[in-house]
Structure formats: C-alpha cells, structure tokens
C-alpha cells in the first residue's frame, strides 16, 4: 500500500493531523515528545487505500537519539508522500527540517499549523510567497479545529518527487532560512496578553514554585473529591440497585462451589460487595465502584495539565530536584503518568535521553509511585482514619522516592542530561480531544482491570479451597510477623498483589488491622512488586538485567522500609 508520512518538529500537531485524517484515536498532548513510537492508520485517497504513518517529532535529518533515528530512517526509506507539519508560530526553526526534506527531493507538502493562533501572537505569514520561495505547496491549517485538512489531503495526489538538489551546509541553510523569513514573516510581539502574563507567572521561581506546589496539591484534592463524589452519588447507588439481582442469583445457585466462586461468602448473613470475594460481587465492585471513579477523576485532571501546556513548566521548576535524583526535569512526565497507571509511566521513560535517567525513573516508578487503582482502595482503607493517615502514607512514599533517587544517583554511573527543552505556549484544552483522550484511557483501564481483578478473585478462591494460604503463611511467618508485625493472613495480599494491587489492598480490609499495621501493609504492597502488567513493560524498557536489578531493589527496599516502620511507628 502506498504511504503518507507525517513529519515535523516535536509538538507541531502531527498526531492531531493523523487523528483527523485516519479517524484513529491517538493520545494528543501539549508538550514535545508525546508520540514516542510510529503510529499507523489508514485513509482513502481518491477511493484508494493509503497507509498513514505518524512519525515521532524530529528537528533535523541527523538524529540525536534512538527515537529520532527510527523516525529519520522511516522517513527516508518509505517512498511515501510526506506531509511536513510546521508550527506557524515558530516558522524559522521549523524550516530547517523542511529545507532538508526539499533538498532530498522528497514529495512534500507543508502544512502550516496553528494558523488560528498567529494573529493573536503577533505573527503574519505570506503563504503565497512562502510557497514560491520553497517551491513546494504550503497549506495553512488549524489541525485541532480541523480547518484546512481537506485542502491538505486534496493536494497529496499532485505531489511528485523532484531530483535531489545540492545539499547545503548548516550555515548556508540557515542563511537561506533567514532570507525566506525576512520576505514572508512579520513579527510584532504583542506582550501582556492574559496568557503571556500567566506564562511569566508560572515560570518565575518566586511565583511559580508556590503555584506549582498548589497545583499538585489541588490536583490530589480534586481527584479525591471528584472520585468520592462519583462513588457516593453514582456508583454506590448503582450497586444498591444491583444488590437484589445478586441475591436472586445466589438463591438460584444454592450453596456450593458455584455460589462460593460467583457470589462469595456472606458476612453476617449479607453480601458485602467489597469483601465477599465472588466474581459477580467483589470482582465487579472493586474495579467499577471503588477504582474506576478515581481513575476517571485522575485522568480528567491529568488531561488538563497535559493539554494546557503546564507540565513542561513544572518540569522546569522541578529540574534542580530531579537532577539530585539522577534525572532531569522532564521526568515529571513519567512520574505523573505513573500515578495514573504504572504501565504508561514506564513506557514514557523513553523521553529521557540517557540510560541512567531511564533506569532511575523506571526504578522509582516501580518502587515508590502508587497507581490510581491502588490509591483508590487505600483511600477507602485509610480514609476512615482521617486525612492524617493518608498524608502519612504519601509522605512515607515520597521520602522513599527521594532517598532511593538520591542513592541511585550516587551508585549508578553515567550522567543525567542537562535540560534542554521547548516550553509550549499555554493553550485552552480542546474539549473534543480532551474527551477522546479520557475515553481512550478509561477503555484501556476497563479492558485491563476487570479481567485481572477476576483472575485475582479466582486465585484467592482457589488458594482458600486448597488451603495454600495457611501453608504460605507458615512459610512467611518469620518475615511477616517478626519483621513487619503483620498477621499471617496478610501474606495472601502479597501474592494477589502481583496480579492486581487494588485487589490486594482490598484483602486487608476484613482482617481488622490496626492503623499502624494498615500503614505498613499499604506501603509494603506499594513497594514490594509492581503488578504483572508493569512487570512486562519494565522488561521491555530496561531488559532482563535492569529488571533483575530493579526487583532486587524492590525486595530490599520494601523489607527495609517495612521493618523500619514497624520499629519507629
């Protein structure tokens, strides 16, 4: 199949064009490096099928890192037509790649994006003249609004390869660009618009650091508030309606193995959705009524942080701290994503340049960053003890994160790159793409959570039936009770924790633990092992050796911290 490739600098809107052209849902955010792998989709062009490829952003055809190498190779070897997406607000530096593509004689059309923002930012571009000077078609578009996409697509059939021209030197190319810019662009920076004031405010340390701390804190409070609201007013009432249905099913099944597996055990003659451990009771209740509302709230808040362009600013403010932990500022992106689910968190460590940074980020994620599913259950477990209990939990993990980062930074050879990144302008999140992203992430959650929770419940039931729990309890007794001060039954949660962390925390609730024991168990569960899905992506990103190292760190750290808490608290 013939190909169409989307190429351009990072954060110019390639993925937005891709989604518009193919109808394929992709994650779009307002920071450079959202797309880290090639994405493929299809579209019809004059009745013929075409493959559309979204290529990760590059600044030039001489790649600096692995992701860029893949992108450049794909561009030069695909023999497809190329849509060069260009940021109209930063035409000058975007043209470098454009000139390189033109020199190669590739069939390209330039899509001049963010045209709706140009006037507002004081930029005027003479499109006709630009077209003439470049010798290739230029189409002004606004990808997010869908403007100009049709015109862009209509141009594709006309594109033809041209003979390669003389490859210019770096200096010559920049001279040529400056000459073009002089003729086609007028730039009268309009300062002091509301957004620009906000941009200055949030990057200046005196105002930005307090604002950043407030935003992080407010995000947590908002997630908790919205999650709780959804649980109390939507999901709990829904499950009350479901209760009589479950009773009927239970009566129909009668006592026996099937009822034990599907409905679970009765607590004081009633079904307790969170504790009965049946597939149709706890297996549905935990993922849907306890975890999903928080996951939804979290991704809504994260979406706003991503789409507005705030994350790169936070990365700037936290850069000094991140360097102490062997990473650089942009590591806030994997950390934030990891708070939602560790899987996309670990995948996004790719945006960090050196091996050391990637390893530290992956290790910190796996050991000390709890995912939202886990936090949701911990909210309900510790929440009844008041805010103090929750704050202690997060504080302990934060200290672990900090100390482990500092130690790893000292131990691991190699360097963290100095920060060098573009900060995108603030943009109002686009409602449609915001909702789409939220929907995609929720779909992923539902597809992954429910089967694994079912599996977790099933394993718990099987372990009980075959009396394995008691046996494992005896085996782990010395560690569990002496070192950590936990009852033997809690060992089951450690086993189940490998499948699903939220299930594991759920097991703790009927055990009647004291606050101290709950805190130790929650922290242990967060640290000792990531869930199986995270394990798989860790293997993909850091390979077997890295995975073994991270596992060793996890086991050591969780026992050490658990033992320490048992002594200190």
């Amino acid at each position: 199949m013939k190909k169409i490739l989307l190429a351009g600098n990072p954060n110019t809107g390639k993925s937005t064009c891709f989604a518009r052209m193919t109808g394929v849902d992709v994650i779009i955010s307002n920071y450079p490096g959202t797309t880290v792998e090639l994405k493929k989709g299809r579209m019809k062009l004059k009745g013929e099928a075409r493959e559309v490829i979204d290529v990760p952003g590059i600044y030039s055809l001489s790649p600096a890192n692995e992701a860029e190498k893949i992108a450049v190779k794909k561009l030069l070897s695909s023999e497809g037509k190329i849509i060069n997406v260009v940021d109209g607000l930063n035409l000058e530096r975007n043209l470098y790649l454009t000139l390189e593509l033109i020199e190669k004689g590739l069939p390209i059309v330039v899509a001049l994006n963010f045209c709706n923002e140009l006037r507002h930012r004081g930029v005027k571009i003479d499109v006709k003249k630009l077209e003439k000077l470049l010798g290739v078609p230029v189409i002004p578009i606004s990808a997010i609004a869908g403007q100009g996409i049709k015109k862009l697509v209509d141009k594709l059939p006309e594109l033809k390869s041209r003979p390669e021209t003389k490859v210019l030197s770096d200096k010559e190319r920049w001279q040529k660009i400056e000459a073009i810019i002089k003729q086609v662009q007028e730039f009268n920076p309009k300062k002091h618009t509301f957004w620009e004031h906000l941009e200055d405010f949030s990057i200046h340390p005196l105002t930005g650091i307090p604002a950043g701390l407030f935003i992080i804190f407010a995000s947590f409070v908002l997630v908790r508030f919205v999650g709780e609201f959804l649980i109390n007013y939507i999901f709990n009432p829904l499950f009350s309606l479901y209760y009589p249905v479950v009773l009927k099913i239970s009566a129909f099944l009668g006592p026996g193995l099937w009822r034990d597996i599907l409905i679970g055990s009765f607590m004081d003659g009633k079904i307790a959705f969170d504790q009965s451990m049946g597939l149709l009771t706890t297996g549905l209740f935990v993922p849907i009524a306890m975890v999903l509302p928080y996951v939804l709230a979290f991704y809504a808040v994260l979406g706003i942080l991503e789409d507005s362009g705030y994350l790169p600013r936070l990365a700037t403010l936290l850069d000094t701290l991140m360097h102490k932990l062997g990473m650089h500022g942009l590591a806030v992106v994997p950390m934030f994503l990891g708070l939602g689910c560790n899987v996309p968190g670990v995948l996004s460590v790719r945006i960090l340049q050196t091996k050391k940074e990637r390893f530290v980020a992956a290790a910190l994620l796996a050991v000390s960053v709890p995912c939202m599913a886990q936090m949701a259950v911990i909210f309900s477990l510790l929440g009844s003890y008041g805010a103090g209990a929750l704050i202690s939990y997060f504080l302990i993990l934060f200290i672990v994160w900090l100390v482990l980062g500092i130690v790893l930074n000292k131990l691991i050879k190699g360097e963290a790159m100095e920060t060098f990144m573009e900060i995108p302008p603030y943009r109002l999140p686009n409602l449609l793409s915001f909702t789409k992203k939220l929907w995609m992430r929720m779909k992923n959650f539902i597809y992954e959570a429910i089967p694994f929770v079912f599996l977790g419940v099933l394993i718990i039931n099987i372990l009980y039936v075959f009396n394995v729990v008691a046996w494992l309890g005896d085996l782990a007794a010395p560690v569990m009770s002496r070192l950590l001060g936990l009852p033997l039954e809690a060992v089951l949660s450690l086993i189940v924790g490998f499948i699903r962390k939220d299930m594991a925390v759920g097991i703790l609730s009927p055990l009647g633990l004291s606050l101290k024991q709950l805190l130790i168990a929650s922290v242990m569960l967060t640290m000792y092992f990531p869930c199986v899905a995270t394990f798989v992506v860790l293997f993909k990103e850091v390979r077997l050796k890295g995975l073994l190292q991270i596992s060793a760190i996890m086991i050591f750290m969780s026992l050490f911290v658990g033992g320490l808490l048992n002594l200190v608290l």
Binding site: L89, D170, I203
Partner: protein, 76 residues
C-alpha cells in the same frame, strides 16, 4: 559588554555573539533557534543552580546552566 547567559539579568534582552562548544552542541542549540546573531530574552533563572528560561521569537526554552554558560551575549 560581553557576558554569558547565566550572567545576564532577568527580563533583559541581548544578542547572541558567540556559542562556545563543538559542532554538535551548536547544532543542538540551533534546533531550537539558539544561534549567533539571534536576539534572546532571559525570562527567569531557577534557584539552586537550576536551569534558566529564555525566549527566542515565540518560543520559550528551558536550558541547564552548563549550556547557558557557553552562550555569550551582548545586552541590547
């Protein structure tokens, strides 16, 4: 007067007159349009030897002090 980007005061505009360092370093900076002859404005510098934030044209850029120290500018 010639000074590095680190020494430039916040909110001051300057012209880049020299970038010390090798070809690949220069190329990397040029990707975000930090080149000799360009006007640059320093927006902020983060405390505890944190990065500096500059503006060139319509782009804001965060760069570490090590890099900023190799960029020589002349105040306008």
């Amino acid at each position: 007067m010639e000074k590095t980007l680190n020494q430039l005061e916040e909110q001051k505009e300057a012209k880049i007159i020299e970038i010390k360092g090798g070809v690949s370093f220069n190329k990397k900076l040029a990707e975000l349009n930090i080149r000799v002859g360009k006007n640059i404005k320093k927006l902020a510098s983060q405390p505890f030897m944190g990065p500096v934030v500059v503006e060139i044209g319509n782009t804001e850029i965060t760069l570490g002090r090590g890099m900023a120290g190799k960029i020589y500018v002349e105040e306008i």
